[in-house]
Amino acid sequence: MNYLLLIYSNEAEFAALGTAALATISEEYAEFTKSIVQAGKFKAADRLRPVSTASTVRVRNGKTAITDGPFAETREQLGGFYLVDAKDLDEAIAIAARIPSARHGSIEVRPIWPLT
C-alpha cells in the first residue's frame, strides 16, 4: 500500500531559521531519506515552493475556476511530501513520525487510492 506523507510546517518560522539550523535540518532530511530508501519504503519525495505560489483548482458546471492560494488557510502550509510503500497505516504513521518536521509541524498521511 502506498501512503503520501504530507509535511506541514510554518513557512515564516522556517524562513527565519539561521543558516546553521537550516544546515542541520537538511542533514537530518538527507539521513532520513537515505534510511527509508535503503529500507525499500521510498517511492518519491520533493520539496514544495512556498504556499504563496499555490493555486487551487475547482471545476463547477464544466468551468474551471482557479483561485490564488491553498484550499484552506491555516497556521501551517504544505511544504513537501514523501510517497512511501508501507504494509499498513501503523507502518506509514511510524515512518511519518520520523520525518524531522513532525517535531514542529504536522504530517498528513493520506492513503493512495490507485487509479486502476
Binding site: 499498513d88 497505516l89 501503523d90
Partner: protein
C-alpha cells in the same frame, strides 16, 4: 452433536457473539462482511440446531458457517472480484488451521485485535468510543446513539465513516507492535474510562443507558484484564470504576437532586462493588513500576469507601494522594480536589489560597466547580458577600439543571 439435549440458543449467542465477530473480521478482512456473516450464522443455527442438535463446538460451527455463507454469497453475486482471491486464501489457511480455531488463545487474540483496532488513534476519539461500544460490547446502533444523545441515523453514519477509514487507510487488524503497545494500551484505557464517565456524569435521574454504559466499561476492563493480565494501570482503572459505581445509588436523591459525597447515605453504597474495588486497589499497588493516575484516583476512592462518614475520612492521606496525582497528571480539576481535601485538614484559608493561585495562573476561570469551591471556602471563613458573588459566578457557568439546583440551595444557606 449433542442430540436432543435441552439448550438455550440465545445464551450461546450472547456468550459467543463477541468472539465470533472478532474472528470473522480477521478471516473476512472487513467489519461489515463479518457482521453479515455472524447474522447469517446465527440464522442458520436457529434453523438447524433445534432439529440436528447443538454442535460439539458451537463457536467453531458459527464461525465456519458465517465464513462459508459470505464466501458463497460473494461467489454468487460475482461481486468483489478482486477480493475473492484473498478470501479464498484466508479460508484455505483457516481450514488448515482448524484445530487452533478452537483454542481460546486464538480467540483472545482476535478480541484484542478488535479492541485495539476500534481504539486506533487514527480514528477520532468519539468514533473510537462509538465503535468500541458497537463492535466490542455489542450494543445496538440505537443504544450507542442514545449514549451520545444523537439520532440513530447520525450514529449509523459515524460508524460507517469509521469503518470506511479502517478499510481504506488500512488500519491493521493487529495488536500493536511492542514498541507502540504501552501507548496504545493507554489509549484503550482512555476509551474504557470515557465509556464509564459518559455513563457516570451527573444527569437528572438515572437513564438506563447510563447504568448500562458503566456496566459495559467494567465488563470491557475485566475482559482486557483477562486478555492482558496484570497491567497495573488497568487494574487501577477497574478499581476506580467499581468504587465510583458503588456510590451510584446514593448520588442522586429521589427528587433528582445531586447529593454530595459528604451528605450521601453510605448505607446505600454497594458493598459488593466496594469489596471488589478495594481488592483491586491492593492488586494495582502491588505491581512494581510507576504508579498510574488511575490507581492513585482509585486509592483516593478507596479511602472514601472505607470511611463511615466524611469526618472519619483519612483526609491527610487524601491530600497526599492528590499531591501525587497532580505530579503525575497536572490539571486544574486535580488542584481543585486537592484544595477541597486541604480544607478538610488545614481549614479553608490555605485551601482558598491554593484556588486563588490557580485562578491567578489563568486556569479554569470558567470552570463552575472552581467558583463553587471558592464560594464554599469563603463561606467557611465568614466572608459572606464574597461567597455570594462566587456562587453567582458558579451559577453563571453551570449548564446542568441538577447542578444549578445544588448551587442555588448552597447559596441559600448564606442568607440564614
Amino acid at each position: 452433536m449433542i442430540a436432543g439435549a435441552a439448550f438455550d440458543v440465545e445464551a450461546v449467542f450472547r456468550r459467543e457473539a463477541g468472539r465470533v465477530l472478532a474472528t470473522l473480521i480477521r478471516l473476512l478482512g472487513d467489519f461489515d462482511l463479518a457482521e453479515d456473516a455472524r447474522q447469517e450464522a446465527f440464522a442458520a443455527a436457529i434453523a438447524q440446531w433445534p432439529t440436528e442438535g447443538m454442535p460439539l463446538h458451537p463457536r467453531a460451527w458459527l464461525i465456519a458457517a458465517g465464513r462459508n455463507k459470505i464466501i458463497d454469497r460473494i461467489r454468487r453475486d460475482g461481486l468483489f472480484r478482486t477480493k475473492i482471491a484473498d478470501l479464498e486464501i484466508a479460508s484455505a489457511q483457516s481450514n488448515d488451521a482448524a484445530e487452533p480455531e478452537l483454542d481460546d488463545a486464538v480467540f483472545g487474540d482476535d478480541r484484542l485485535r478488535l479492541i485495539f483496532t476500534c481504539c486506533h488513534p487514527a480514528l477520532n476519539p468519539e468514533a473510537q468510543i462509538a465503535l468500541t461500544l458497537r463492535e466490542v460490547c455489542g450494543l445496538s446502533t440505537q443504544a450507542v446513539a442514545r449514549a451520545f444523545l444523537v439520532g440513530e441515523e447520525t450514529m449509523s453514519q459515524r460508524l460507517v465513516r469509521a469503518k470506511r477509514k479502517i478499510r481504506e487507510a488500512r488500519i491493521p487488524y493487529e495488536t500493536p507492535s511492542p514498541a507502540a503497545l504501552d501507548e496504545r494500551f493507554d489509549g484503550v484505557l482512555g476509551v474504557i474510562y470515557s465509556v464509564f464517565t459518559e455513563g457516570y456524569a451527573a444527569t437528572a435521574g438515572d437513564r438506563l443507558i447510563d447504568v448500562e454504559l458503566c456496566a459495559e466499561a467494567v465488563r470491557l476492563g475485566k475482559l482486557l484484564d483477562e486478555l492482558m493480565p496484570d497491567r497495573a494501570a488497568l487494574v487501577g482503572l477497574l478499581a476506580l470504576m467499581l468504587l465510583h459505581d458503588a456510590r451510584r445509588g446514593a448520588r442522586v436523591s429521589a427528587s433528582g437532586d445531586i447529593v454530595l459525597l459528604e451528605d450521601q447515605d453510605r448505607s446505600l453504597w454497594d458493598q459488593t462493588k466496594i469489596a471488589a474495588g478495594l481488592a483491586l486497589v491492593e492488586r494495582a499497588l502491588s505491581v512494581k513500576g510507576t504508579v498510574s493516575p488511575y490507581t492513585v484516583q482509585a486509592a483516593i476512592a478507596a479511602l472514601h469507601a472505607r470511611a463511615p462518614d466524611s469526618h472519619a475520612t483519612d483526609w491527610p492521606q487524601i491530600v497526599g494522594l492528590y499531591a501525587v496525582l497532580s505530579r503525575l497528571q497536572p490539571s486544574p480539576v486535580v488542584e481543585l480536589n486537592r484544595a477541597v481535601a486541604i480544607s478538610m485538614v488545614d481549614g479553608a484559608a490555605p485551601a482558598l489560597q491554593l484556588l486563588e493561585s490557580l485562578a491567578a495562573r489563568g486556569q479554569a476561570i470558567e470552570y463552575h466547580l472552581l467558583h463553587a469551591a471558592r464560594a464554599r471556602f469563603l463561606q467557611m471563613l465568614g466572608r459572606i458577600a464574597e461567597a455570594r458573588e462566587a456562587y453567582a459566578a458558579a451559577l453563571a457557568c453551570t449548564v446542568s439543571e441538577p447542578e444549578r439546583r445544588l448551587l442555588a440551595a448552597r447559596a441559600a444557606t448564606l442568607e440564614r
